[in-house]
């Protein structure tokens, strides 16, 4: 029954994806103007054409590295600040205004400001970091606040050291929050990195290619690059989710065993 359901949902996903591709293809046929809306075939052809050039792989690799760096940095700093803010109210009050401002500021404002502050190749990483860190900070802090008070009381009675309370109680309690915030950050990380690349135009980048596509009215290239970003984002998310899955499998084993 379970196998049937999984198969069924996979088939459904495929059918619905094909349906939306068909809509795209039909719309392209009706408009019949590749500059406005290229067809699926034209976008894929553009992608194949790009893939013939070595610079394409360089662009993709560097953009990927930027997302890695931005998301990675936000994970490290977001977790550290989230734990401290969750544990100590003054730390929370110190960082809350900054995080609230970051959350409400349009990404483009940061990109333009960063253009004044730093060299273009660093801007996408900086912007990606700024967009992701509040998500991780908020989640980790919530996880700390939701940690079972009764367990903490037990630790207090048995005089467990702060270090071990953080390592053995807080971290396992917030791991779910950390994982879900990382998964949520990946999509946002990609979007903000590429947006920053389009505006800041560092020498090697996917965003730079998108900007050129806009300038030279190569809409099919824009679609091709967008598809590549979407696919990379999916792969990135899939890998991270699997890593997370493997990491937490040990801890969840007991639950599976008892069910």
């Amino acid at each position: 029954m379970r196998i049937f359901t999984i198969k069924n949902s996979k088939v459904q996903n495929l059918i619905f994806t094909l349906f939306w591709l068909l809509i795209w293809e039909l719309a392209a046929k009706i408009i019949n103007e590749p500059v406005i809306l290229p067809s699926v075939g034209q976008a894929i052809a553009a992608m194949i054409e790009m893939a013939k050039h070595a610079t394409f792989y360089k662009d993709v690799a560097i953009s990927l590295l930027r997302v890695f760096a931005g998301v990675g940095l936000s994970i490290i700093i977001g977790i550290a600040l989230g734990i401290l803010s969750g544990l100590y109210a003054p730390v929370y009050r110190f960082f809350n205004p900054v995080m609230s401002v970051i959350k409400s500021t349009p990404v483009v404002s940061f990109i333009i400001l960063a253009l004044v502050w730093m060299k273009t190749s660093s801007i996408p990483v900086f912007v990606c970091f700024l967009m992701c860190v509040p998500i991780i900070w908020t989640n980790v802090m919530q996880g700390i606040k939701d940690t079972d008070r009764k367990i903490l009381q037990m630790c207090s009675v048995y005089k467990i050291s702060h270090f071990r309370v953080i390592k053995d109680v807080y971290l396992p309690s917030v791991s779910g929050y950390i994982f879900s915030s990382i998964a949520a950050s990946i999509g946002i990380g990609w979007k903000s990195t590429v947006a920053a690349e389009v505006i800041a135009r560092p020498e090697i980048s996917i965003g730079g290619g998108m900007y050129d596509a806009k300038i030279y009215l190569q809409t099919e290239n824009l679609f091709a690059l967008t598809l590549i970003v979407i696919v990379l984002s999916f792969i990135f998310e899939y890998v991270i989710k699997n890593l997370i899955g493997n990491f937490s499998k040990g801890r969840k084993a007991y639950a599976d065993k008892s069910n």
């Binding site: 009764k150 009381q153 037990m154 207090s156 009675v157 005089k159 050291s161 109680v169 007991y254 065993k257």
Partner: protein
């Protein structure tokens, strides 16, 4: 050193729990606290173990002491095994492996070291919480209905094991229970608390009388305390 609670006052908003409670738990003895539900037994234990604040009064004899507390709920770390849960409270001390193995043996959980709490029955989880308290080698042990949830045969077993463990070191024990048999079997001193604000209605030196007499005295006072 005994634990001496003097003129203790505690309230949660308008709900006054203690308005001048005086009680003394003697060293090297097992003191059982009985009383109606909600009278404030757990609150008193939480205050003594410093996880609850109080409004006025003094608590002497609990400072700088190693306190082990078996809570009403097991309070186990679900992501740690039985062994790890017990070792958790002495991880920075010496001879951990031997002490944990002994504690596991004393609650008859040998073979279950690698099990996670979710894989255990309610009674087994209680025994893990008890083993965690034993392994700590406490000066004071606080037990809040520690044998609740155990079936009769196992309860007797665990109670006997507890008593054997206690006899080795004779630390100060404070135990809350609703079960008169537990009190009769284990207690040196029995305190019956009456309704809020709680006061000690009667204090009994349990070892000076026969079990039957003790049981009937407890029953009589408990009925009056309701």
């Amino acid at each position: 050193m005994p634990i001496k609670v003097t003129d203790l006052k505690k309230s949660f908003g308008d709900n006054i729990i203690f308005d001048g409670l005086n009680i003394e738990f003697k060293d090297s003895r097992i003191s059982c606290v009985l009383g109606p539900s909600g009278v404030g037994k757990s609150t008193l234990f939480n205050i003594i173990s410093k996880i609850e604040s109080y409004n006025a009064g003094t608590i002497e004899g609990a400072d700088k002491k190693r306190i082990a507390y078996v809570f009403q709920e097991d309070r186990l770390l679900e992501w740690k095994t039985v062994y790890e849960n017990i070792a958790f409270v002495i991880a920075d001390e010496k001879d951990v492996k031997h002490r944990v193995d002994e504690a596991i043996k004393s609650v008859k959980l040998t073979g279950y070291e690698k099990y996670y709490p979710k894989e255990l029955s309610g009674g087994m989880r209680r025994r893990v919480a008890l083993a965690r308290a034993f392994v700590y080698n406490p000066d004071i042990m606080i037990l809040d209905e520690p044998f609740k949830g155990l079936d009769i045969a196992l309860k007797e077993d665990v109670m006997n094991d507890f008593y054997e463990q206690w006899k080795k070191n004779k630390f100060l024990v404070i135990m809350a229970t609703h079960d008169i048999d537990e009190a009769v079997l284990l207690a040196d001193d029995i305190f019956i608390l009456s309704k809020k604000p709680a006061v000690v209605k009667v204090q009994i030196d349990a070892k000076t009388m026969s079990k039957d007499t003790l049981e009937s005295i407890i029953r009589e006072h408990l009925e009056e305390a309701q």
